[in-house]
């Protein structure tokens, strides 16, 4: 079946048909072979259902009946400025690239921003299609992930970043979903290459603007060369009505270090996948997830880590909080493949339930096919420690303050690992704003 074949008109959902229509009306580019393969596979698999193992906690049935149109590109000046939602404060003077509905706002071609080579994917597709196809078409577990496949088939533009030296200041990618119409979908795509020995900090911050929520299907690929390092943040802070599917795929070469923070502070439904391949000896992953559910929000985070070489290390820390009737899911799967001797893996998943109607599911999983490995995992979910609460109350602290303080303390393991102090401050502020007695809590820092 070729990509020109289509989903069965009889049974295909309105959503699936609308994606096919977007496919039919696409502008052809040099990436055709890779895109066709992805679309074929997507149509063959269809949209995920709760029968899929990795989607059993997240039901997206309500999307099936929606006819989605591609979200519009917006020119600068077309929309309200985004300064107010930017993550880093002005003091940090971090360079920011805005990506609106997947379209990067860049001036000129092949520019250097914050010492990082930056180009639009449109330009890269025109100038060096082979290189781009190799990057995008590299086989990965994303081959089975429908939203990631759909992104590959339909992304119109995106960002290509190449880090070739040690860059001290962070770069912010501000992804803005601007919803001027109902039922639109955006396909932001970011490709980050870190050259051997180079390093940077890149923050992807997803926010929303406009009257209607855009369904965001974003995809980021990271390649780390030998000895390269990247501190990467993805922050989801969109509105209550929004739905977000994000896929992060990482390939790590020898002795590279990938430090990742996934922060879910908002979004009606956030599904964040991460696939990391520790392909060469000495590669290290540090994954940190801070997942906050409240007011009916649904956060589903799925990490898949493959140890494919000896002496590889992965450390995953997740802290989930659920209040009201929200639901937070953290799944992490570590595969230690044959030959990955002396691999070390550590998974620490902790959940904090703040209401009876909330739910947290933590599932660290291990699959070991090598000898001499050191793998640990633990998952605990509970309520606030009554002993701790009483201790704070016995010192005269207000009940709300005491609770907020303990919630905050629960997150400390993740927060203190952040090297970018202004990002940490902003994230802490955003967290504090969601807690009772926020002003009081602010004094604690």
């Amino acid at each position: 079946m070729s990509a020109t074949a289509h989903a069965d008109r009889g049974t295909a959902s309105a959503a699936l048909r609308s994606f096919e229509e977007q496919w039919q009306s696409r502008t052809l580019d040099t990436l055709a072979p890779v895109r066709e393969r992805a679309m074929d596979r997507f149509l063959a698999l269809g949209l995920p259902t709760s029968r899929d193992e990795s989607w059993r906690y997240t039901n997206t049935r309500n999307l099936n009946g929606v006819r989605f149109a591609a979200a519009k590109a917006h020119a600068r000046g077309d929309v309200e400025p985004f300064a107010s939602v930017s993550l880093l404060d002005a003091a940090q003077r971090a360079a920011t690239i805005s990506v609106v509905n997947g379209h990067p706002w860049l001036r000129g071609i092949d520019s250097v921003i914050n010492e990082i080579e930056v180009a639009s994917l449109k330009e890269v597709a025109r100038l060096d299609p082979k290189m781009l196809m190799d990057l995008i078409g590299a086989p990965s577990s994303a081959d089975n992930q429908r939203w990631a496949l759909l992104n590959t088939a339909l992304f119109v533009d995106g960002l290509y970043l190449k880090v070739t030296k040690n860059v001290p200041t962070p770069l912010v990618i501000l992804h803005v979903g601007v919803g001027t119409d109902t039922d639109t979908i955006a396909y932001p795509r970011v490709i980050i290459e870190v050259a051997p020995g180079a390093g940077a900090t890149i923050i992807e911050h997803h926010v929303a603007q406009g009257e209607h929520a855009v369904l965001v299907n974003s995809n980021t690929q990271v390649t780390l060369g030998r000895g390269g390092h990247l501190e990467h943040y993805r922050v989801f802070a969109t509105g209550r009505e929004s739905t977000h599917f994000d896929h992060l795929a990482v390939r790590q070469e020898r002795d590279s270090v990938f430090k990742q923070f996934t922060i879910a502070l908002g979004g009606g439904l956030v599904r964040a996948d991460m696939d990391v391949n520790l392909n060469q000896p000495g590669a290290t992953l540090q994954s940190n997830s801070l997942l906050v559910g409240y007011e009916g929000r649904h956060v589903d985070c799925v990490n898949v880590v493959k140890h494919a070489a000896p002496d590889t290390t992965s450390r995953q820390t997740s802290r989930a909080i659920a209040s009201d009737n929200s639901r937070v899911i953290f799944n992490s799967k570590v595969h230690v493949q044959p030959g990955a001797a002396r691999a070390e893996s550590h998974q620490s998943c902790r959940g904090l339930l703040l209401s009876d109607a909330a739910e947290i599911d933590s599932r660290p999983q291990l699959e070991i096919h090598a000898d001499e490995v050191k793998c640990m995992h633990g998952a605990t979910t509970g309520r606030l420690e009554p002993d701790m609460l009483f201790y704070l109350l016995s010192r005269g602290l207000d009940r709300n303050t005491a609770q907020s303080l303990l919630v905050f303390a629960f997150l400390a393991d993740v927060l203190t690992g952040m090297s970018v102090s202004s990002a940490r401050n902003s994230i802490e502020n955003a967290l504090i704003n969601q807690m009772p007695d926020s002003q009081l809590l602010r004094n604690f820092r």
């Binding site: 009483f390 201790y391 016995s394 303080l405 905050f408």
Partner: protein, 260 residues
């Protein structure tokens, strides 16, 4: 008649026939005790006699169920106040097992506690510089290391450091009534002296201290005005400091056999 009035004015804590239950088990079975301003009381007793339960009930622990009796704190019904309100009103519990709270800074907690008390008294928040000066001065007095300032509440503290931290908190908050639950347990002689020095520095005519302890040792350094023996959930004997010495010599069996 004048005597009666004076007693009423001076009485900081009046416990009458107090009964309490923990996890379905009756622990306190009619405790009577009056503590006046300016006094130091020691409550002694064997393990399981209800000493810690009494301390926790007075501080307002919610999973301890009061099944009878009354407690007045400065003439107010103590049980009408929640734990945090009791603290702000000037009641302080020094914990037998101070809780470790990683991620909450020691100093922030102290500052919040002090400000909560000041706010309840209609006073403005403490000035940041004044506060730090105060803390440093009290820390020096308690011979605590500077690293305390940056650590989480009791996080990784030794047993002795935790107890010293309790006393530090007490000195900063200047409570009217301090109930110190086995503050002496697990302390070496040097730490015991420091902690005692802290407690003694708070002694004055407007305050009172209730020492809950298993051993007489602490009472060599903080000399009590009254000693009570709690046994089987009731105070079975009261006396002056010599009672503690007698207990040390003859053991709790002596009192219990007398009681029976």
């Amino acid at each position: 008649m004048g005597d009666v009035d004076l007693l009423a004015i001076n009485s900081l804590l009046a416990i009458e026939n107090l009964s309490a239950r923990v996890a379905g088990k009756d622990i306190l079975k009619g405790v009577n005790l009056t503590v006046n301003a300016g006094e130091v009381h020691a409550i002694m007793g064997p393990n399981g006699s209800g000493k810690s339960t009494l301390a926790q009930v007075l501080a307002g622990r919610e999973d301890y169920e009061v099944t009878g009796g009354s407690v007045a704190f400065e003439g107010r019904d103590l049980f009408a106040l929640r734990a945090e309100e009791r603290a702000r009103a000037g009641l302080f519990l020094g914990f037998q097992y101070p809780v470790e709270i990683p991620g909450v800074n020691n100093v922030y907690l102290l500052k919040a506690a002090l400000n909560a008390k000041r706010k309840a008294a209609g006073e403005p928040e403490v000035d940041a510089y004044e506060f730090l000066t105060l803390i440093r001065q009290k820390m020096k007095f308690m011979q605590m290391s500077e690293s305390f300032l940056t650590r989480g509440v009791n996080e990784g503290f030794s047993g002795g450091e935790k107890k010293r931290n309790e006393i530090l908190q007490m000195l900063v908050l200047e409570p009217k009534l301090a109930i110190l639950d086995e503050t002496d347990s697990g302390l070496d002689i040097d730490a015991l002296k420091i902690v005692s020095k802290g407690v003694n520095s708070l002694r004055d005519a407007r305050r009172a201290v209730v020492l809950v302890t298993h051993y007489q040792r602490l009472l060599d350094y903080v000399v009590p005005d009254f000693v009570h023996v709690l046994s089987g959930g009731r105070i079975v004997k009261s006396g002056d400091k010599s009672l503690a010495q007698e207990l040390e010599r003859r053991g709790y069996d002596w009192v219990e056999s007398q009681d029976a």
